[in-house]
Subunit: 414 residues, 2 copies
Amino acid sequence: MSSTSLSTSQAEVAIDGDRLWATMHTLAEIGATDAGGVARVALTDVDKAGRDQFIEWVTALGCSVHIDRVGNLFARYEGTDPSRAPVVIGSHLDSQPTGGKYDGAYGVMVGLEVLRALHADGVRLAAPVEVVSWTNEEGARFPPAMLGSGVFSGDISLEAGLGSTSMQGDVLGEELLRIGYSGPEMPGERPIGYYLEPHIEQGPILEEGDHTIGIVTGVQGVRWYDVRITGQEAHAGTTPMERRSDAMVSAARLITEVDNIARRRAPAGRSTVGVVEVEPGSRNTIVGTVRMTVDLRHPDADVLAEMDAELHDFVSTLHPQPQVQQIWYSAPIEFDTEIVNALRSAATEQGKAPVDITSGAGHDACYISKVAPTGMVFIPCADGLSHNEAEAITYEHAVAGAEVTLAGVLRLGS
Amino acid sequence: MSSTSLSTSQAEVAIDGDRLWATMHTLAEIGATDAGGVARVALTDVDKAGRDQFIEWVTALGCSVHIDRVGNLFARYEGTDPSRAPVVIGSHLDSQPTGGKYDGAYGVMVGLEVLRALHADGVRLAAPVEVVSWTNEEGARFPPAMLGSGVFSGDISLEAGLGSTSMQGDVLGEELLRIGYSGPEMPGERPIGYYLEPHIEQGPILEEGDHTIGIVTGVQGVRWYDVRITGQEAHAGTTPMERRSDAMVSAARLITEVDNIARRRAPAGRSTVGVVEVEPGSRNTIVGTVRMTVDLRHPDADVLAEMDAELHDFVSTLHPQPQVQQIWYSAPIEFDTEIVNALRSAATEQGKAPVDITSGAGHDACYISKVAPTGMVFIPCADGLSHNEAEAITYEHAVAGAEVTLAGVLRLGS
């Protein structure tokens, strides 16, 4: 189908679109589900099979393989300048239990295709190029998500990571040993010059705007809250409105305001109430207790703090008054300007009319951005759907994302 | 403690407060719970014991006892004019599984005390006076509530009433036979000249206003709705606000408007959302589906129809749009003017400063009002609490309600 050439100082290096597409779908056979998705949950035998396949492919390119104590898996394609830290491309090979073929796998397969493109033309950059698969990005079996990259960045201790226990009582460290992917390196010791993560958007923005490439400028900040509202149960027929302490009515006003808080900051703001639990839950009894969640997001930490302040201000006006507890804060992340510019320029030169985009979801790149210059390339996915066996991308978009990544690697690694 | 005399054309007939209070608490020992309440669920052995005790008491007054095929239990104290239909006082002897001592029992015990007061002074009115205990008012074991009075009024067929089956598979008609309370009369055949039901308010209005007596002018109309809202599940982080179809936000707006619909009609209007169920119920996923209930009440059928129209008008403005289905309508009831006036005048003459009140809860009087002139007297209960073992009333209020009832019987039965 498509095969694009890219000019570099060293040589003509080109993505082979058919090779990328075929390899990605060969990988998707490992853990393939009847519904067309993938079940390659972290540190299962299927995850081991995916890792083994990856190692077979990179070893054929003469790469060395390096594994750290939390199972993060690196394939290294040497450069010509021993003083240079590597340009690292990656994402994750694990999936949700009923996941899609592209979430995570796309980034690792693009990295592999970049190595193959370099290898095919016998090109070596000044910097080494590495491809990484981070352990347990999904967190579907072992909490939390992005565990491998979090241990690598030092945000999660090695002990916590290895001790993570599944609902079934399996321990991550033991499962790593069982499948043979407990390596000798200390996570975080391995240098990273630049980190690039190609990924499907997992949202609708690119598809809706008919864009092929999103250059990710950063990741939204997130504040999570648990809210509890205690009113008074009473008879729906005999209790006058003015005597009520109706927890559901306070909750409804709060939910509407939570929605407005983000709408006042369109298009970047986000706010969601996803959990609402009421007691006693009887048709003719006023609700006594509501437990609910609030999720506020914005790429700018100051704006997110304003949203937090508005939430608390509004809560103080309500009767019965909600008790609001912030249970998690993830500060907004701004990706490295040099990488963002390199990727944007590359995509523009390729005629792909890239758009800047903020990631609404977490990625391994969030943790890695704390220890190395980091950037991401997004491609569209059908209907913005992800974490779903119906996850779908097009051949053209898949290739375009790889071409932009390759161009970025050539710029950053030369 | 208190003993009030009432002048009548025939004699001095007086409520004996101590006798009423003692008898009511003797009855409460039948099915007494450790927490101070009563468990005298319909057609259990305990209900039979309560009925047996009642028959023992009324038989001692020379009353005849009459039982119909659904177990409604009448004690008849003869009058002097064979052409007169009886003045009937009553309520129910059954209770909730963890019920209080006064809900229902108060009305039957006031009826008994009226008979005793007449009997003590050898007074016979022109009309007979009967005291009734309706079968299965609570509906706690056999649905629906107010079953015995509903069969009597013809709103529930005898077959449906006798065939009502408990969650445990017990059948009402069989249980009636088992405890020996399946009588020969056809429900509804027995004439009722006037029906008076003394009852605890089961709401907060009388207590809050420091009122002793409420003259019930009628019962609210009720409309029940089931509501389903179907939006679209999506990622809380990646889905822009303007692209969302958030079922919870529509639900929140609807809940707030439901609350406002009744508040615009204070103090008589009532509106409640008691059940709210959301799916998928995940912190970082936009809610795809909400199922909820709406309960609207007003004593005026036209106003209740306006409230219904406002509900539908508002729903049509929402996106995603709720599907609203009315599943039940109970028209408002206005009690008989002659009875309401008689009770109000009696209470006023006794210096009790009665207030008019609309009942928010259903009572046997609702069904009986369809076949006979009907009225109710309310007395306060502590904190408006009922259907609860902590249900409480004062001696003074209990006696006052009996005095008003007696005065009403003397006026209506003379």
